[in-house]
């Protein structure tokens, strides 16, 4: 049941992506509505799969990196669907939906080995940590898409070389202000996620800071976004540099989120295996 739902969800995300890519080339509002609905259907199946998994195993579906990415993909799609309803920037779908497909497919490829003990999900701190970090990362993924959109559009206007994309992409100001919304809501969530993480770490390992690679990377990532937030508020940073920094920040997020779990050793890691021994 669960894997059937996941397959349906993946197919829906794929179809939604194709729909949005066609929408990028052809300005038909109906295309956007169809693609958005398909993504919504995919998210419902995906959510159902997660629930089935959670009920089946009796814990939050986050014990392996595969589950983590899958859950993240779901949070990301749902965030997009909500942001779209709120902000109505249709073309954003063309940049966001491919990312959703990438996350979804990569979750299939990642190992299922458990990284967290089931018992750990009894702690409200961990749930708070995971929820806020995931939401923050979903918003940062959106910020990354917006950064790419901004750079594409900015380049066209600067180089005076116009094409189809110039027509289809929204104004720089619009992209920038939506990016600002994503950043300003994502950053407090990430901060909260780190704090709850430290609280949880203190409870488990009796110290908030253990030089775990993921901890270090998280703080580095947080600092990148902190710089971005600070510069925006203080000097009114925007545009190209802000977009590049958002892209850099999200790359750091991906490294923190996936690579640290796979390659490096530490409490979040797959390789270190037994965390609580």
């Amino acid at each position: 049941m669960e894997s059937l739902f996941l397959v349906i969800a993946t197919l829906c995300y794929l179809c939604g992506t194709v729909g949005y890519l066609i929408y990028l080339l052809k300005d038909r509002e109906v295309l956007h509505r169809i693609a958005w609905t398909i993504l919504l259907v995919g998210a419902i199946f995906h959510g159902a799969a997660l629930v089935v998994r959670g009920v089946g195993t009796g814990h939050f579906p986050l014990t392996s990196i595969r589950e983590a990415i899958s859950l993240f993909a779901w949070v990301f799609v749902v965030t997009y669907l909500v942001v779209q309803l709120k902000l109505q920037l249709r073309i954003l779908g063309s940049f966001v939906s491919p990312l959703a497909v990438i996350f979804m497919l990569s979750s299939r490829l990642l190992p299922t080995q458990a990284i967290l003990a089931k018992e750990s999900f009894r702690s409200g701190w961990l749930i708070a940590h995971v929820t806020s970090i995931f939401l923050a990362n979903a918003l940062f993924a959106m910020l990354f898409s917006l950064g790419i959109m901004y750079l594409l559009q900015e380049r066209r206007i600067k180089k005076k070389n116009f094409g189809l994309l110039y027509e289809r992409l929204p104004s720089l100001d619009r992209i920038d202000s939506i990016a600002n919304v994503c950043l300003m809501s994502g950053f407090p969530l990430m901060t909260a996620g780190l704090i709850t993480g430290f609280v949880y770490a203190t409870m488990i390992w009796r110290s908030p800071w253990n030089w775990d690679p993921k901890e270090v990377l998280s703080v580095v990532t947080w600092m990148i976004y902190a710089i971005l937030v600070h510069e925006r508020l203080a000097v009114g940073w925007r545009g190209r540099r802000a977009a590049w920094l958002a892209i850099l920040g999200f790359s750091a997020t991906i490294i923190t989120f996936v690579l640290a779990n796979l390659l490096l050793t530490g409490h979040h890691s797959v390789i270190s295996g037994n965390l609580y021994g």
Binding site: K160, S171, L172, G236, R238, G239, R240, R241
Partner: protein
């Protein structure tokens, strides 16, 4: 025979300071046209003044004296100190070159932004006041009307006109792609050329509410500000104004860029990096192209904007060429009309027309009466030609008598109209353009330089 002379300066020949001084002086209550009765050598006079040009179009019997008088008029009217050498800024076109130049001006081919539509209205205004002052007579009357119809022909037969309109349209569209909503953006006009006005009007129509005008001469700035419900700022405070501005439309016609990379860069921090969009309509450019390299600053000059509307260079050049072809053709038509104002060609063309009619009628009659013998035919030919001769005798004697007078042109023109000879002149002209093209048209070439 009288000469048509056009004396003036435009954005290509005179620095902006001189032109503005002239334009301001000429916008005073006193129109230089009222001086005509005091000019001994000038017969007819039209005075055109826009922000980018000041021109006197006049006819005179003696060229050198006429030009000297108009130059003196220019100097005293403007109150230009004699220390400023006027001659180096002036161009003087005579006869056909003057006609061609006027046609170019009217069709907006001589404008800073080729194809901008306002010049024709300004020219009509100049003509209207000349009519009020009764300073135009037959030659300039016809020349002005001709220039209006040439402008119309150029506008309908080429895409020159749509080019300028879409430039300001493109500017607004680009602003939308940068700012999203432009209603709450602030527009700064630097300089006050026709094209800047066109762009400003376009921005206003699109809902921009806040506009500022900076101009070297305050009078002009105030005038524009009143029209666009804008504020004015002193030209020297331009850089400070950049802090509060989002869109800059610049068209000063200064020789050197008025805004450098450093100027703009240092202002960006103060404006917290909010995007700044420069529309540089001036040629040569007002904004250093390097400014475009600054983050969040976008500089579009007139070529870029024309690139936006996919009017590529080739296309524009070919449009300009076909417009010039029209102008050449019309210039020659006008030349032929001028020539016809002398008695001899008028008489010749009256006779030619009569002869042509006679030949046509004879051919028709002979073909309907095939039985006629040679004798009868000869008799009919003699009969018809003597009717024509006798009928035309008095008019031709009249024209010959008037040929010695100064007012002959009026009679010649009247004759041309009476016998409907103008159309014939026009038909010949079209053919003549083609043949003269082959000869490489020395006078037109000279005008182009």
């Amino acid at each position: 025979m009288s000469h048509i002379i056009l004396l003036g300066m435009n954005h290509k020949t005179a620095p902006v300071e001189i032109r503005e001084q002239l334009a301001v002086a000429c916008r005073q209550e006193v129109n230089p046209l009222h001086m005509l009765p005091h000019l001994d050598h000038v017969d007819e006079l039209i005075f055109l003044s826009t922000c980018n040009r000041v021109e006197f179009l006049f006819t005179c019997g003696a060229q050198a004296e006429g030009i000297a008088e108009i130059k003196a008029l220019l100097r005293t009217h403007v109150g230009l100190p004699s220390s400023i050498p006027l001659d180096s800024y002036l161009y003087v076109h005579q006869d056909l070159e003057a006609v061609k130049h006027l046609f170019m001006v009217a069709s907006s081919l001589d404008s800073m932004v080729v194809g901008e539509p306002q010049i024709l209205g300004q020219l009509k205004g100049a003509y209207r006041s000349a009519v009020e002052f009764r300073t135009v007579k037959m030659v300039l009357n016809r020349l002005m009307h001709k220039s209006f119809s040439v402008a119309k022909r150029v506008r309908t037969e080429t895409c020159i006109g749509s080019c300028a309109v879409s430039v300001s349209y493109a500017a607004v569209e680009l602003a939308r792609k940068i700012f999203g909503h432009i209603q709450d953006k602030r527009v700064l006009l630097i300089g006050a050329g026709e094209m800047a006005e066109l762009a400003a009007e376009h921005f206003l129509r699109q809902g921009v509410r806040s506009m500022t005008v900076a101009n070297r001469t305050l009078e002009r700035a105030v005038e524009l500000a009143a029209r666009f419900k804008a504020e004015t700022v002193p030209f020297d405070h331009l850089l400070d104004e950049l802090k509060a501005t989002d869109i800059v439309v610049s068209s000063t016609g200064a020789r050197e860029p008025i805004l450098s990379y450093r100027d703009v860069r240092s202002r960006m921090r103060e404006r917290r990096n909010r995007p700044l969009f420069f529309i540089d309509i001036a040629v040569p450019r007002d904004i250093d192209p390097k400014v475009n390299e600054i983050d969040n600053v976008y500089v579009y000059d007139i070529d870029d904007l024309q690139g936006v509307i996919e009017f590529n260079r080739e296309e524009r050049l070919s449009q300009a060429r076909s417009a010039e072809h029209i102008i050449d053709e019309e210039t020659i038509k006008f030349k032929n009309w001028m020539k016809s104002l002398n008695a001899v060609p008028t008489i010749v063309s009256v006779r030619e027309k009569a002869e042509k009619i006679r030949q046509n009628e004879l051919r028709r009659t002979f073909s309907q009466l095939p039985d006629l013998g040679e004798r009868e035919k000869e008799a009919i030919e003699i009969l018809t030609s003597s009717i024509i001769k006798k009928l035309l005798h008095d008019p031709i004697m009249f024209l010959k008598k008037k040929a010695q007078r100064d007012s002959r042109a009026v009679y010649m023109d009247f004759t041309l109209q009476l016998f409907n000879l103008i159309e014939g002149i026009d038909e010949v002209a079209a053919a003549q353009v083609e043949s003269e093209k082959a000869e490489d048209r020395p006078f037109l070439k000279a005008a182009k330089k």
